[in-house]
């Protein structure tokens, strides 16, 4: 509270400040409204070309489906539809209050939580003075627990509900959101993995480097400065886990930019227009191509190594695992067996690029390493 407000409560400015402070305090007490900047240590950069216009009235209840995951094609469609509905309702719906109704959610995966959280944070950033975004807690404790452990509530600045003490916890690296390359976050993620599996120094460095390159790629390729879309420029989200029950570790990395296929198609437009074969390529083709061999907009062998490195690191581990990349309408999963599974999303597309990397059933001892040279493909 300002001194002016305390000394002269009758002054007009003082009253405004006092009222504003009371409102803030009340909201904080109730812990009800989402405040995505409470934990953010930076001011996200909005796209000034995108405006949220119009007067806002009434409350809209957006009901979440029972299952939120990326496990099957229909799950992916349902989740992407929800995210688009959420974004459209909040940014264009002209409602004063939006209730994100989680009550019926019975199953949710960490990557779904990450996508939903990032979308809430984006929308909140664009209409924080116009629309109040709030929500309900899921009835199923497992979902609440996941949201709590992954830092969903903390990131949105709301109080998590109490859970029965009997729940077994996974070790999660809580969702981190940054707009710069932060190698120390990569290090803390690998520290979390070490509860389940300690990488030899050489592998630890390789994974660290791959993560830093994911962050670096966001600046190099992800966001289009000329776009009219509601971007939070340079922003990326990272979450990870180490699961004791099935000895698995993994992380998810997401940016809300243009997505790999759109970026490549824009940068390589002339080459694509000259080739009949490339014109027929789906988004999955482009994702697969980008992961298997570096693609650089600069026509340089010196760039575009991030995803390739991540895949090569996975291939070098003698364990079962996968690298899955979802971007626009492309969805490709690369398995350690050398196979890849592609899916073309037909109904909805993902804004940006989601990278999911995991290894399962880690052998505690006697692990073989089959690393190739770092620049074989380069």
């Amino acid at each position: 509270m300002s001194k002016q407000g305390r000394k002269n409560p009758k002054s007009r400015w003082g009253q405004v400040i006092v009222t504003r402070d009371r409102t803030k305090r009340n909201l904080a007490r109730k812990d009800r409204t989402y405040d995505s900047n409470r934990l953010s240590n930076h001011g996200p950069k909005r796209n000034r070309k995108f405006k949220v216009a119009g007067k806002r009235r009434g409350t809209f209840n957006l009901e979440f489906p029972k299952s939120l995951s990326l496990n099957s094609e229909s799950d992916v469609s349902e989740l992407l539809r929800l995210i688009h509905d959420m974004s459209r309702t909040i940014l264009e719906g002209k409602h004063k209050r939006i209730v994100l109704d989680h009550k019926n959610v019975e199953y949710m995966t960490p990557e779904a939580a990450l996508l939903i959280l990032s979308e809430i944070q984006r929308c909140e950033e664009y209409c924080k003075d116009k629309t109040e975004i709030t929500g309900t807690h899921p009835r199923v404790h497992a979902v609440t627990e996941l949201l709590d452990e992954i830092g969903f509530y903390e990131a949105l600045g709301i109080k998590a509900p109490k859970l029965p003490a009997s729940y077994k916890k996974r070790t999660y690296v809580r969702i981190e959101r940054r707009d710069m390359v932060d190698p120390e976050i990569a290090d803390s993620l690998i520290d979390c993995f070490s509860s389940e599996h300690s990488f030899p120094d050489e592998d630890r460095k390789r994974l660290h480097v791959a993560l830093v390159e994911c962050m670096d790629n966001v600046f190099e390729h992800a966001y289009d400065l000329k776009s009219l879309d509601p971007y939070l420029y340079k922003e990326w989200w990272l979450a990870g886990y180490a699961d004791h029950s099935d000895s698995s570790i993994g992380f998810m990395f997401y940016d809300q930019g243009k997505g790999i296929p759109s970026t490549i198609k824009k940068k390589k437009r002339k080459i694509i227009e000259r080739s009949k074969a490339l014109l027929t390529w789906t988004d999955s083709h482009w994702v697969e191509r980008a992961v298997r061999r570096p693609i650089s907009r600069h026509h340089s062998m010196r760039r575009g190594h991030g995803l390739t490195r991540l895949k090569r690191f996975l291939d070098g581990l003698d364990v079962e695992g996968s690298l899955r990349v979802v971007a626009n309408r492309g969805d490709v999963e690369f398995l350690t067996s050398g196979q890849s599974v592609s899916l073309n999303l037909t109904n909805d597309d993902l804004d940006g690029t989601l990278i999911m990397w995991k290894i399962n059933g880690i052998k505690k001892e006697g692990r073989a390493i089959r690393h190739g040279k770092d620049d074989e493909d380069g």
């Binding site: 710069m180 390359v181 932060d182 190698p183 120390e184 990569a186 290090d187 120094d201 050489e202 630890r204 460095k205 390789r206 660290h208 480097v209 830093v212 390159e213 962050m215 670096d216 600046f219 190099e220 340089s300 062998m301 010196r302 760039r303 190594h305 490195r309 040279k373 770092d374 620049d375 380069g378």
Partner: protein
Amino acid sequence: MAEPFYYSVAKSFTRFPGGRRRQHGLHSGEEFRESIVLPLLSQHERVIFDLSGSAGYSSGFLDEAFGELGAIFGLPEVERRVVITADDDPDAVETAWARVREAAKESGVRH
């Protein structure tokens, strides 16, 4: 011939090297080249860069920090004046030299 100057990145710059450019965050390759590598090369005939002890070097960092030297000075000059070493990270040394060679080739600098 004077003794080469020894520089440990982990001890004197950072244990957590960042990304490619300054605008991408702290301890970037560009920052390292502009504030450390080029001034050292202007003061000393030969410099040993020891990459040991760091958490890991992204190829963007190495490209910007060392690769760019290939474009500025040309490969023979860089090979003559720069030594890159790392006890615990042979990948980084290999990648750094690969970037120097590629940069020299792409820029077409001949000395």
